[in-house]
């Protein structure tokens, strides 16, 4: 599904952040990337989502056989990518419901499918919001505006549940969450697991991976993956730290 090959990326002011990243994710798999601060984890998710301000100097990103690097952020969503933000943005003056409706209808339109009927949309929204404990008041409020840290992260998962992506990237979704919120968010993610859907979970701590069990764990240091393994690699890192991977 996703194939990253020897990717080198620098930020616009010149510093190279990714220094030869390679990663392959197949259908239905859950991959986790762990690593110390500044190793390039968030850059990886930003570059995959097409955030401006980065320059790919080498290598390629292929998603379902398509060269991702040529696509705008919204086109990538149309292809089936979703990024849950580490810091979801507050948008005063745009209600959560309108935002989700515009988002879904934009994606459907770009895929050449018809708009979702208002009834169908609201039913789906209500069901998904209930599962995540999102009140109807939160849906009427401006996007993330005045939301707590936990509410913002649940709102990200709601957007993911509505958009039903093929590949979802969770960028430090656990940061700033207490244990109860972490459980709600994780069960939201787990309910979306399927043989057709893949996840890339980016995190500092192993804690999240207790709830979202990965198939593969990668250790990222200084802009590339230095070790890959199964779920138990996360436990090993939790116990021993990253120091042995820092050269």
């Amino acid at each position: 599904m996703l194939k990253i090959n020897d990717l080198k990326v620098k930020i616009d002011d010149g510093a190279e952040i990714l220094k030869g990243l390679s990663l392959e994710i197949s259908k239905g798999e859950i991959h986790a990337i762990m690593g110390p601060n500044g190793s390039g984890k968030s850059t990886t998710s930003n570059v995959l989502a097409g955030k401006p301000g980065y320059e790919v100097t080498n290598g390629s990103i292929q998603f379902l056989g398509e060269d991702f690097n040529q696509l705008t952020p919204d086109e990538r969503v149309v292809q089936g990518l979703f990024l849950a933000f580490q810091y979801p943005v507050e948008i005063q003056g745009v209600t959560n419901t309108n935002f989700l409706r515009t988002s879904i209808n934009s994606v459907l339109k770009a895929r050449g499918e018809g708009k979702m009927s208002p009834g169908e949309f609201l039913t789906k929204l209500k069901t998904k919001a209930n599962e995540l404990g999102i009140s109807s008041d939160m849906l009427k409020r401006s996007v993330n505006f005045g939301f707590s840290g936990g509410e913002k992260k649940r709102n990200e998962i709601l957007q993911m549940a509505m958009l039903e992506p093929k590949l979802a990237i969770l960028d430090e979704t656990d940061s700033g969450l207490d244990i109860d919120a972490l459980k709600v968010v994780s069960s939201g993610v787990n309910s979306l697991r399927s043989t057709e859907r893949s996840f890339l979970v980016i995190t500092h701590y192993q804690r999240l991976l207790n709830y979202i069990l990965p198939d593969f764990v990668h250790i990222m240091v200084q802009g590339k993956i230095v070790k890959s393994g199964a779920a138990d690699l996360a436990l090993y890192v939790e116990k021993n730290g990253y120091s042995e991977f820092l050269s």
């Binding site: 919204d74 969503v77 990024l83 943005v89 948008i91 003056g93 935002f99 515009t102 958009l163």
Partner: protein, 426 residues
């Protein structure tokens, strides 16, 4: 005054003098003194303090041709609103296009119908609030209006009027134009909702004087949907008596050169006003200017100003906001904010907030910010599948909607919001 300014001022009024209707003595007298006042002030020139940020050239080029031709009707947000419409076509009252103006609690007279020399209530107001406004800022083109406007409407409100009154000004052609003067008196404890609606082309100078008596409430909304070639100068002069309230809001979605001058006198204790405006004009060298002055004369009054502008492709947005608090006006609460989004490198926003405070127990704040659309927010919308153009328009609406929140009439608020959504193709 220098000779050049005097000559230019004389040239300007030489086009206008011939059209005067002098059948009402008191009106003729006010007009005559105002003509003198105008010549004393002279026309505005680019180096005048009030005009440093936006050139007066277009506003000085008086053109009063009337074509009276049919024009293509523009879409209106108020189409489905229950209202009483008073329509001026190229500056002339159009009975055919207007609604029946007979309603309980309201007396409507056309300015050119005031022919008798007997007393008319508007005599005590006409030109007075305009003249008082000159103490705070010079507005010679408003004096011009007092001296030369031949048409307009005089509205006296003696009850709570639930149905909004729409004053619709339509200029049909590029070279058509109008000078219109309205006077409104809202009697004690009564309420009116007044919509001023601008449509079409041409040149216009339209002034409304509004007198709100004790505990009166005035809701005012100005909507401009004019062509790129238009030049529109509006004046709103309000005098608020004890415990009366003005809530004025505006939206400009089209104009070539537009200047809205507002002056509020808080002349009664515990009176309050909120003035707001949102604008998003077309591309090209458009000018959108809001020049506001609020004069706190009595204690315990509140004023609030919220202005938001979106500028693009060489367009210029100007906000000049002055709050003067006289020594007597203790416990004044004044607030002012103006913000602009610059969509590209060529759009400009120029702001001049001014506070003149002579009382020592007041709370006054002001702020002005301009900047580009936030990249992070734009990316967030795009990362939910919304393309860049749509995402920007969503953010423009979100930005302007803070002003819509200032509209207290919920019907008008909803209509304005959905009209703007359509305008932005949302």
């Amino acid at each position: 005054m220098d000779n050049n300014r005097l000559q230019l001022s004389k040239d300007l009024i030489s086009n206008l003098s011939t059209e005067k209707n002098e059948s009402c003595e008191w009106l003729a007298k006010i007009r005559k003194t105002s003509e003198k006042r105008f010549l004393n002030h002279g026309i505005p020139l680019a180096f005048d303090e009030e005009w440093r940020l936006s050139s007066p050239d277009h506003f000085n080029k008086v053109s009063l041709c009337s074509s009276g031709e049919n024009h293509e009707k523009a879409p209106s947000p108020f189409e489905k609103l229950k209202k009483i419409s008073i329509v001026f076509l190229d500056g002339v009252f159009s009975k055919d296009s207007s609604d029946n103006l007979r309603a309980n609690g309201i007396e409507v007279t056309m300015l050119d119908e005031v022919v008798t020399d007997s007393y008319h209530w508007s005599k005590d107001i006409f030109g007075k609030i305009e003249k008082n406004s000159q103490i705070i800022s010079k507005r010679p083109l408003a004096i011009l209006n007092t001296a030369f406007a031949q048409s307009g409407v005089l509205i006296e409100v003696t009850d709570n009027i639930e149905v909004p009154i729409e004053l619709k000004y339509v200029c049909t052609k590029n070279n058509s134009g109008c000078l219109i003067r309205n006077v409104v008196r809202v009697c004690s404890g009564n309420k009116i909702t007044l919509i001023e609606h601008f449509e079409g082309n041409g040149w216009s100078n339209i002034c409304t004087e509004l007198w709100a008596e004790k505990k009166a409430i005035v809701e005012h909304f100005r909507f401009k949907y004019l062509s790129r070639d238009s030049c529109s100068n509006t004046f709103l002069f309000v005098c608020l008596q004890e415990k009366s309230e003005l809530r004025s809001s505006a939206l400009s979605l089209g104009a070539g050169h537009s200047r809205n001058e507002t002056h509020i006198s808080l002349d009664g204790e515990e009176s309050q006003c909120s003035i707001s405006g949102a604008s998003y004009l077309g591309e090209g060298k458009t000018l959108d200017d809001d020049t506001v002055s609020v004069h706190h004369l009595k204690p315990n009054c509140k004023s609030r100003q919220v202005f938001k502008k979106v500028q693009r492709a060489s367009s210029v947005g100007v906000f000049q906001g002055k709050i003067r608090v006289e020594r007597e006006a203790q416990k004044t609460d004044g607030y002012q904010t103006s913000r602009a989004i610059l969509l590209d490198q060529t759009g400009k926003f120029l702001a001049k907030p001014e506070l003149e405070i002579f009382a020592d127990d007041v709370s006054c704040s002001h702020g002005s910010v301009s900047g580009a659309i936030d990249e992070e927010t734009l990316f967030y919308l795009q990362s939910r599948g919304i393309d860049e153009t749509l995402a920007k328009n969503i953010l423009i609406l979100a930005f302007l909607s803070e002003v819509f929140e200032e509209i207290s009439d919920s019907n008008i608020k909803d209509l304005i919001l959905s009209f703007t959504e359509k305008h932005l193709k949302l």
